[in-house]
């Protein structure tokens, strides 16, 4: 009996000692966070950063470590949809969230109604930066009641139209980007250009990838999209949405579409092999194109029909579960600083959300050799300046998917426009 007790006792003591040790470590790590200056030697702490793709932050972490030698930064990446679903689960269950998390523009409105799940960045003095930001971008990161600052913007997705000069040449269309931009001041003119492309019968190539992204761009150019200012879903009644849907249908019926869903593997192959000649291009998508290695100068960049627009763009936020909010807030501050946003624009094509930078030569005059020396700095900043911000609701991504699926059903010849629209609206009505 005594022997038995002994056998249990030893591990138990060991475990509790370990537990005590761990708690001691935890509180030890916290103390300097609330107290001393950053340069003061303190115990090592670890910050995790949760992202949904490569944000090209690695060099910026190194810079952060220069002023914070005790901070170790670990990056976690998940697939786009999973990232945001995981985050919601983690916030609800109260465990597992990273110290710093990225929240994309289509999702941020799902988090602004629950400011108590996040540290208020105002408490860490980051509200001082409000004047630097695009007004609408700043407001996206503020809680609905206005009391709390949840996320600081990183980039915005100024819109453009990417095109292939080689295929345009074969079709007898102009290849110079200024002349190409002049071809399509409006979406109707874009479709007319597409018809000319189809008439020229270029071997193995359609005019564009698929109608989904065009539909999205056109909706996002409108003053009101899927949601009204009170965050009610108005997709069914908003004439702008139906207009964009009809434009997509027209693209299909005129034979412009290669019937490819954006970001699918065959779409990726299509970028490299040139099965389509144009695609809607937010700033960050130039990185996607490069990843497919179509070859330097294969793709070029022109203005988007309808003038300006935004697609995507991200915020960085601090879930309440984090143990080191002070350091994490300092990290956000660095990642979104002017210098960082310039670097990220030239390195990763992330268009800054600080309008002062749009007149900064490093951004404005930036030309990208990969896209035939396209002045992408000017194209994207023009697009961002021309943007009319619209209310983005919490389930905007789901609404877009429902209607986008409808367009693809038309594209695959399964339904006509009316059937697809009716089913899309039915799907939208299921979104709560």
């Amino acid at each position: 009996m005594r022997k038995l007790r002994h056998r249990f006792l030893v591990p138990m003591v060991a475990v509790s000692a370990l537990a005590l040790g761990l708690t001691a470590c935890g509180s030890g790590g916290d103390a300097p966070a609330s107290g001393g200056a950053a340069s003061q030697p303190a115990e090592k702490i670890k910050l995790t950063v949760g992202l949904f793709s490569d944000f090209h932050y690695a060099p910026l972490y190194e810079e952060f470590k220069k002023t914070h030698p005790n901070v170790e930064i670990v990056e976690r990446r998940a697939q786009f949809n999973d990232h945001h679903t995981n985050l919601i689960t983690q916030l609800t269950t109260g465990a597992g969230a990273a110290d710093v998390v990225a929240i994309e523009g289509g999702y941020i409105a799902a988090f602004t109604p629950v400011p108590d799940k996040f540290y208020n960045l105002k408490d860490y003095g980051l509200d001082k930066r409000e004047s630097e930001y695009l007004d609408w971008k700043w407001k996206l990161g503020v809680s609905n009641d206005g009391s709390s600052l949840i996320g600081l913007g990183t980039d915005v997705g100024g819109l453009a139209m990417c095109y292939r000069p080689d295929l345009f040449g074969k079709a007898g269309l102009p290849t110079n980007r200024d002349e190409v931009s002049a071809l399509w001041p409006t979406w109707d003119a874009y479709i007319e250009t597409g018809k000319k492309f189809v008439a020229a019968k270029v071997e193995g190539a359609k005019f564009t990838d698929g109608p989904g992204e065009h539909f999205r761009a056109m909706v996002e150019q409108a003053p009101v999209g899927f949601y009204d200012a009170q965050y009610n879903i108005v997709a069914a009644t908003n004439p702008e949405v139906r207009k964009a849907f009809d434009m997509g249908v027209k693209m299909i019926s005129d034979g412009l579409s290669a019937n490819l869903a954006a970001f699918s593997p065959p779409w990726n192959t299509g970028i490299a092999k040139g099965t389509f000649a144009t695609m809607v291009c937010p700033a960050w998508k130039t990185g996607t194109i490069k990843d497919q290695k179509p070859g330097e100068g294969t793709w070029d960049i022109a203005a988007v029909p309808g003038g300006g627009g935004n697609q995507g763009g991200t915020h960085l936020a601090l879930p309440k579960q984090g143990k080191h909010p002070k350091e994490a807030a300092e990290l956000i501050n660095l990642l979104t600083s002017k210098e960082s946003q310039v670097t990220l624009f030239t390195e990763a094509s992330a268009l800054p959300s600080l309008p002062a930078l749009y007149d900064d030569p490093a951004v404005k005059d930036y030309v990208n050799p990969y896209f035939g020396n396209a002045p992408i700095g000017k194209i994207f900043t023009d697009a961002a300046k021309a943007l009319k911000p619209q209310p983005v609701g919490p389930k905007a991504g789901d609404v877009l998917q429902a209607i986008g699926n409808g367009l693809q059903r038309v594209d695959q010849g399964k339904q006509n426009a009316e059937e697809a629209w009716a089913q899309a609206l039915k799907d939208v009505s299921r979104i709560k």
Partner: protein
């Protein structure tokens, strides 16, 4: 000992320590005999309660609510979720797809597995090599399998369409049709699981007495007749087992259709290959937890039903799981 009154014990002081010790030893022994077996099996039941029973019960509880994450209050709505579910076209569509993919993948797979096992059961050079090879597809990551198969089944640059074009056959948009997408997904499942099931069959076949085959050979029975008349009846319990596990697996297909549609949670733009698991996943990502839990429970009921029906069918005749 238990009949002795405590006062009597106290009345005999010199005996007390001895008796006391004996009593204690007896109690410990009793406890050991009665209690230890429970202690030994406890870990399983504890784990099962934590990871099997509790989630099951909790899901049932959630399914009776309008339960959305990021909102703190959850309203009790009774069976409303199930009522909505039974009237939901998309649910029945997902059920149909699941059964269709299940049948398309399981039936040919098991026939193929029996045939492969039969081949391997004969005297063969490099036996171990072939057996290991059979298991290889199963240890490959499902993601890798689906990514490669999706390339093969591509519409524009897929190898299958390319081969078909050599014979002058028009390419198929595998992703778009109901039957074509089900066939593509079933192929992936078959590729992955046929070898695994073949090995289970092989193990069962090795237990069949050799003399039966020898006698049959002397009587002039062909290989196929031997398979039909000796092997299959002798391994019937294993067949029942494999049919049931495969059915359960097929009812829960998620990764293949999800990846085949490049992460489109609706399983094709017309939900043409959205399975039940994918439908649950869709509603979870929409954060409609009550509804998703209701579907999970319906799926559980379906699995029990389908497995039961399969059990009855395969058990018919001689033999059985017992």
């Amino acid at each position: 000992m238990a009949t002795r009154a405590p006062e009597r014990l106290a009345a005999v002081p010199p005996n007390r320590p001895v008796r006391h010790r004996r009593l204690r030893r007896h109690l410990v022994h009793q406890l050991d005999v009665k209690g230890s077996p429970y202690a030994y099996v406890a870990p399983f039941f504890l784990l099962f309660s934590a990871f099997g029973l509790f989630p099951l019960a909790y899901t049932a509880w959630v399914s009776l609510h309008e339960w959305t994450l990021l909102r703190d209050e959850q309203t009790f709505i009774g069976l409303e979720n199930f009522r909505t579910l039974l009237a939901d076209d998309y649910f029945w569509n997902a059920t149909f797809n699941t059964l269709s993919i299940g049948v398309l993948s399981t039936a040919p797979q098991l026939l193929l597995a029996i045939w492969l096992a039969h081949l391997l059961n004969r005297p063969l050079r490099a036996q171990t090599f072939f057996r290991v090879t059979l298991l290889l597809p199963n240890v490959t990551s499902v993601v890798a399998v689906v990514v490669i198969f999706s390339q093969l089944f591509g519409r524009d640059f897929g190898m299958i369409n390319w081969v078909m074009s050599l014979f002058g056959v028009e390419g198929v948009a595998w992703n778009e049709g109901v039957l074509s997408s089900h066939a593509a997904i079933s192929t992936m499942i078959m590729w992955r699981w046929t070898g695994y099931n073949a090995l289970i069959f092989l193990a069962a076949m090795q237990a069949v007495p050799r003399e039966l085959y020898e006698a049959a050979t002397i009587d002039g029975a062909s290989g196929f007749t031997q398979l039909r008349k000796i092997t299959i009846p002798m391994i019937r319990p294993t067949i029942v087992f494999v049919v049931i596990t495969s059915t359960i697996g097929a009812m829960q297909i998620l990764a293949e259709p999800l990846l085949f549609g490049s992460y489109l949670i609706t399983g094709g733009v017309d939900r043409q290959y959205q399975t039940l698991s994918l439908f649950i996943y869709e509603n979870f990502t929409k954060l409609d937890f009550g509804y998703a839990s209701a579907i999970s429970w319906m799926m559980f009921v379906f699995i029990v039903l389908v497995a039961g029906v399969n059990y009855l069918i395969t058990r018919r005749g001689k033999g059985g799981l017992t």
